[in-house]
Assembly symmetry: C2
Homo-oligomer: 213 residues x 2
């Protein structure tokens, strides 16, 4: 059982662009960060439910496939879930529509109190107001021996990394310089010393860097 993270970041480490708004809830430069990932065949099938078979099938797609393989539960922050963008919507069920791409239990770290939400495809959002370690224990119960993903956002990922709770970090480094936003790397000085690092460049130009311990 491994605790895993996958993130798209810019060459300057930005995982969450600046200037988030109702129109651009992920920030105006989000498209530049995720374009190559969203172009993969796997992402199109799994997240967009695109049955045409279109999409890229190279190195980026191999990582996209691996993203969804072997995960038994996920932990995400309330920002990634969308509570910050839609605080006044009592019926908010996340960004992903009726078929969220997870298909496993997802723990949402939230200070509010919310009943769980279940979907026919196996996705189940459960809301927890607790510590990182307790959330991990609950995720392990739910994952049934499979891996646990820390989904995001970047603040939650940084917290888990800083606490030494992550076994594998995969960053898809997009060779763009965004300049403004939230960096993955802040306050993580030397965290890499406990990991083995490998890198691979995709046909798209995205650099896949994987830290494993």
């Amino acid at each position: 059982m491994a605790v895993r993270v996958d993130l798209n970041i810019s060459l300057d480490g930005i995982a969450m662009p600046a200037n988030q708004s109702a129109e651009n809830p992920m920030g105006e430069d989000w498209g530049r960060l995720v374009a190559d990932y969203m172009a993969t065949k796997t992402f199109r099938e799994r997240v967009f439910h695109d049955g045409t078979g279109e999409g890229t099938t190279g190195v980026d797609d191999r990582y996209a496939q691996a993203y969804f393989e072997g995960v038994g539960a996920e932990i995400m922050g309330s920002g990634m879930y969308g509570f910050h963008a839609f605080p006044d919507d009592p019926d908010w069920q996340g960004w992903w529509g009726d078929e969220p791409p997870f298909e496993y239990p997802v723990l949402v770290l939230s200070h509010g109190s919310h009943a769980p939400i279940e979907f026919a495809n196996g996705t189940r959002f459960e809301f927890l107001d607790t510590t990182l370690a307790t959330a991990l224990e609950r995720a392990a119960e739910l994952a049934g021996g499979a891996d646990i993903r820390i989904g995001g956002g970047v603040g939650v990922v940084r917290d888990f990394l800083a606490a030494g709770l992550v076994d594998r970090l995969h960053v898809a480094v997009v060779p763009v310089v965004l300049g403004r936003g939230t960096s993955l790397w802040s306050d993580l000085q030397g965290f890499d010393l406990d990991y083995t690092v490998t890198s691979e460049v995709a046909e798209s130009g995205v650099i896949h860097v994987t830290f494993t311990r």
Copy 2:
């Protein structure tokens, strides 16, 4: 004639580590940034004058060779030259001993007044208190049609990049997270939009990213 930059940076963009001191004039983490570059056969020959033929000969060495090829003049800041570390030494001639690895004219941007210094191997340090554009003009006179390198430090490089004066930027991204120091990428939001980007991973794990326009 191209204006070129080559820098070693960490995965979090640090080009100059923090905590510079007399013992560690480049900062205590400098060794982690430059270890793979300094291990190349080319660096050992050209900078250390190591005649044993030892050193790595893979992708890192290919970039090290390219570093020295086709350059006719260089511009560097006074920090890179060493004025900041040794402000009280009137006989300071840079870090590189009697055979500086440049073997061409080097313009040092400095607010002080200094006579030029010439070495038998063709290196000539000339000290200028002027604008970036004027320094480039003088470098072009000296380079005789060959390329001009902006050598560093990171502040000088950022100034030239922000002014749109750089034709090719090669960063050797070392997959370590230093956390503290001076980032190459600050205030360069979107500068990459004018460039084509290519990336290549060396045997050492260093990721060579090249911006060309």
